[in-house]
Amino acid sequence: MSKVLEASRAGALSAPAHRPFRFGRLGAFMERESVFSWLMLTPPMLFLLAFLGYPFIYGVYLSFFHKEVARAASFVGFGNFVKLYNDPIFWQAVRNTIIFTGVATILKASGGLAMALVMNQSFKMKSVTRAALLLPFIVPTVLSTVAWQWILDPGMGLFNRLLVVSGLATTGPSWLGNPTMAMISIIMVNTWRGLPFFGISILAGLQTIPVDLHESATIDGAGTWGRFRYVTLPSLMPVILIVTTFSIVITFFDFQLVYVLTGGGPANSTHLMATYAYSLSMGAGQMGLGSAVALSMVPVLGLLLVALTFFVRKD
């Protein structure tokens, strides 16, 4: 046995090898897990405070003031909210936001589930197809929305050309000119854009379901629908719920898509709360009123976050 090994067994070498590197008291302080975690969290927290916290607090402040561009603010209490309560366009924007968010989320969740089930199968070009399906999600919103403007053009857009060429119609619909069609169009574009987020997330969930669960169900006599109903869907529910909650938040605050496609028109039929807040504050210069619209969205966001936290904890 070597001298080194002997020394090691005797414990002579072990102490220096296992002793952590210390800077005296500071080192000990740093070793406390909570302190270290907080130190690591500080930069992003400061970032969030500066870029989200301050604007949010300023927005709350503004919503209680009559504030016009280039003018001093004067306190009006709940005056802006009373004004909004009596504003038919505000209520139209609320209604539109709920319809837009609800329908688009249902479409994205169901479509995403279907997409994930297909993507979970084995077929040729599977990886290429998966990558292609992610495309809507990675193209910047403004760019893809401008492309959609062209696609939805009634005279020379792709959709109507396809309808005419295939003989299904002599002229296609006015996608953005008719109030009902305009709402359908913005929901369609939002769904197109958000579908991959659902698809990929649910696909990840699908791949965590143990194969033997399906095998057991098959042995017990379950068919394709039975396995989906009693094995796949219950296993996926946590993922679906989380992704849906995220999606509701994102869809609720969607702004770019509607701003670029319709500007809230025709006749406010596609005005969402986000676009209305923007047009009031940045267009009409009514910063206080615009902030009040934005703040009206917060309780909904709060409820959604509570729901999200609840589901995550339950999972």
Partner: protein, 432 residues
């Protein structure tokens, strides 16, 4: 084979060299005047012009000339065209940073952040034939000029002469009824009108407000105290627009944003729209065959026998928060000096028509006969607030599309009375 659009290189070159020479000489007095404590640079924010030469002339001729003469560098901040400039200006004003002076297309929004420029405006008016009266109602607030008017982006009926000829309409309609009649014929031939009514800027109000006025209706009374929209004439105007939309227009024009009518016209989907002459500029450049058959017509007359146009005004204001407002004012005075201003305006082929009578007979109006009708816009042009003051409430009405949506709602199914009542309710809330 299509002939290319005639080149203006020689004229432009001449203007460029003449302006550069003149600019150097003209800046002389500024050197001595600002010998002490000159700022290093001045930031000038403007929305990008549709006529590229206009921006080029400023950047290549004027800014270097000013820098050479005064040592002050001009930072020319070009903002994206199509409605984003006001948003950037709101941000600048609220943050008190960004530009020393800017084009302020909706002056009423920023008026309180601008310094008094009466000395410049009065001197410019005196020197260049006097200001058009209507623009004074915008730039003069409580007896002081808060911005110096720069020019009007004229809006007229832009139409395809060849298609109008095809249906036997040899002369552009004089009245709205004749306009509708022509539109019905053209739509039957597959060439509908495309009259913007969406949430864009200018292309919508530049025909809807004049139409309303020509029916003898104004939105507010002269003092801006009483809503004047709730009349039988308004109902007639709304009914007319609904009929025009159903029988003569392309369906999606009620949802159009700013560039949509340019796109529809240039892709041969529509035969007529209300626009600046940017459509003709693009066609002459990219679609020379179409460029030959585009004409401009004045807005038709209404039942009251009058013809109106809406001003799309551009003014220049100096921000009070600027580190050196006096230096920015000196620069503004310099660009409005005829030695700089006239070649600058000429470089844009009168896309920006100055509100100065000194330009009424300017030779630049004769460069392209099809541009000349835009001069008439100045003669019959009104601010959208007319006859009420152009103030913040009026700005809110315009920027929230209250009047535009009244027409759009009627076109998309709301009964006339309900559409008017909703607009009147909004107006009363805004004006208090």
């Amino acid at each position: 084979m299509a002939k290319p659009a005639p080149s203006k290189a020689t004229r432009r070159d001449f203007l460029k060299y003449a302006a550069a020479g003149a600019a150097g000489v003209a800046a002389g007095p500024w050197v001595s005047r600002n010998a002490q404590a000159k700022p290093v640079s001045i930031t000038f924010a403007r929305e990008s012009a549709y006529v590229k030469n206009f921006d080029d002339h400023f950047q290549k001729v004027m800014a270097p000339a000013y820098e050479k003469a005064t040592g002050i560098k001009i930072e020319y901040q070009i903002q994206a065209a199509g409605g984003s400039a006001p948003v950037q200006l709101v941000s600048m004003v609220e943050n008190k940073s960004g530009a020393d002076l800017a084009w302020v297309q909706q002056e009423w929004l920023y008026r309180d952040a601008l310094v008094d420029v009466s000395d410049i405006a009065e001197a410019v008016g005196k020197e260049q034939g006097g200001w058009y009266d209507e623009i004074k109602r915008l730039s003069i607030d409580k007896g002081k000029w808060k911005s110096v008017p720069m020019g009007n982006i004229g809006q007229l009926m832009v139409y395809r002469k060849d298609w109008f000829d095809e249906v036997g309409v040899k002369k552009f309609p004089e009245t709205w009824d004749e306009f509708l009649e022509a539109g019905i014929k053209l739509k039957a031939k597959g060439h509908p009108f495309g009259m913007s009514m969406g949430h864009g800027f200018a292309d919508n109000y530049s025909w809807l407000y004049p139409l309303l006025w020509s029916y003898g209706v104004t939105v507010m009374d002269k003092d801006g105290k009483k809503v004047a929209l709730d009349t039988n004439e308004t109902a007639k105007a709304v009914d007319f627009v609904r009929k025009l939309y159903k029988e003569a227009c392309i369906e999606d024009c009620v949802g159009w944003l700013d560039p949509a009518n340019n796109k529809a016209f240039l892709t041969s989907q529509i035969s007529c729209t209300n626009n600046a002459y940017s459509i003709m500029v693009s066609a002459k450049r990219d679609l020379p065959e179409m460029g030959k058959v585009i004409e401009h017509g004045l807005n038709p007359k209404g039942p009251n026998g009058q013809r109106y146009h809406a001003l799309v005004q551009v003014t220049h204001g100096v921000f009070a928060y600027s580190k050196d407002p006096q230096a920015a004012k000196d620069f503004l005075r310099w660009i409005m000096d005829p030695k700089q201003f006239r070649p600058w305006i000429a470089s844009g082929d009168m896309y920006f028509a100055p509100y100065l009578h000194g330009f009424d007979k300017a030779p630049e109006w004769d460069i392209e006969p099809r541009v000349k009708p835009f001069q008439k816009v100045l003669e019959t042009g009104k601010l959208t607030s007319w006859p009420a003051p152009a103030n913040r409430q009026h700005g809110e009405v315009v920027n929230r599309w209250i009047v535009i949506d009244m027409f759009t709602k009627a076109c998309t199914g709301t009964p006339t009375k309900a559409a008017i009542a909703e607009a009147v309710g909004q107006l009363k809330t805004i004006y208090g």
